[in-house]
Symmetry: D2
Subunit: 150 residues, 4 copies
Amino acid sequence: MRATFDPPTDAEAYRFCHRLRVRFAETDAMGVVHHAAYLPYLEEARVEYLRSVGHPFDLLRAEGWELPVAGVATRYLRPLFFDDVVDVHLVVARAAGAAFEIGYLLTVGAEPRATAVTRHGVVGPRGHPVRCPDWLVALASGPSSGDPEH
Amino acid sequence: MRATFDPPTDAEAYRFCHRLRVRFAETDAMGVVHHAAYLPYLEEARVEYLRSVGHPFDLLRAEGWELPVAGVATRYLRPLFFDDVVDVHLVVARAAGAAFEIGYLLTVGAEPRATAVTRHGVVGPRGHPVRCPDWLVALASGPSSGDPEH
Amino acid sequence: MRATFDPPTDAEAYRFCHRLRVRFAETDAMGVVHHAAYLPYLEEARVEYLRSVGHPFDLLRAEGWELPVAGVATRYLRPLFFDDVVDVHLVVARAAGAAFEIGYLLTVGAEPRATAVTRHGVVGPRGHPVRCPDWLVALASGPSSGDPEH
Amino acid sequence: MRATFDPPTDAEAYRFCHRLRVRFAETDAMGVVHHAAYLPYLEEARVEYLRSVGHPFDLLRAEGWELPVAGVATRYLRPLFFDDVVDVHLVVARAAGAAFEIGYLLTVGAEPRATAVTRHGVVGPRGHPVRCPDWLVALASGPSSGDPEH
């Protein structure tokens, strides 16, 4: 994807943090977390973020909404290992028209391990792409995501 | 990642094609292939490509080489479904210094479903990053990948 | 599960064979295929077997049938490694009432690596459990699966 | 596998409970959690149990111990769905010689969803199978696992 957002490695630039722990099943024969296993981490953090802002994803889905992933861009800075406790920092970086972007930073302790951006479409209850709902646009324009003084 | 290569949706721009079939386990509750499941498809195609050019990945690994994924960028154009027969087209787009990029196009029949780029580092037998070996540089400069007449 | 079928390690006891290759993504930090990754192998073999007997699973699903997995039992004999070419041998071991069992043997070359049994329910087009259709019962009673002279 | 332990559906029969939440990536096109996704749940619960009894798995691995899975048996009673909060109840059911078994019950609220047994070998720091260490044998013989009055 051609993401417009370049996720910083400074955790202060993000608005939400979800903690998870690396499963053994997510490692590979190089002894580190397989690069594909990061995508469910991002998804898990998205789901928890939507819950935290009052729009649980399972409720959205029950109402007929989907937020399909249109693109992902990851940058692996240092490996993750089995049993690492990972903080997935997240910010809605952009929401305009029928698409939005979320930026992510994965840290262990204070150390950046990876960054990522996911780009999403919005499919409404009638099964067609629709504009981002207002609450989603509002998430992208809050003080902490855009405020340079944050 | 900030990929330098923008993978085209024209299969003629690629140099290798690996065919695979979607597993049921790779689908999700939206009824399509989960976006994370594409990354192992890319990896499987890379492994077959390396075999086809005489550098099987298991042999490389036995010699101490690793080609760790430094970044991935995907663009999902249309969904993949259970049992789809997917052609993963591939080209080494760039190999310079201690990094290289591979571009991918996923098609079903003639229809583009997704594109992707993976960026890789090169770790040599001594466990340190090293320059791309000559055979890898040669893969990036062949006639069919850069030749506009192809 | 309490499987009634004890899958033998002799490939001659099976009626179908599907070949696949281990993906790097399926390995774990012990350097072998993760034990959970075997289940999609079994599923892939089931799907190919159903296709081979004229009942493709995607067609069954389009007609409203599901064959949900009610239980799995695996026995790991020797590890599988990245890039191994695995033969998944399969036999419908039992089909009675609204349930059936499939037995599996995984080999690399002639060497047994694992055995497994999956037990399935049958859900018909109306969304309720139903008796095994005749074609499925017939698969369980063919000469090669039960014939001691095979 | 031929498990000797038949995991009950009564949570009181287990000694440890680990809570996790279903990821969207773990669902499949039937709209439920894919049957293979349960195995990493069991593993995650095992890892947390070992931590809780003072034998963290990453420390065991650093010392050269492995507890390879020799067999798994699962019974799926009712589906798990996206976002379900799952309690994985666990008990070391048997530890004798160079093998041990763990039983599991998965519940959502008070409702049983699945049971499972994993059978493990023990590989010691020299890379060979060894007898279960004393602390592991002790886990299998505690009052709550075998006490009928519990």
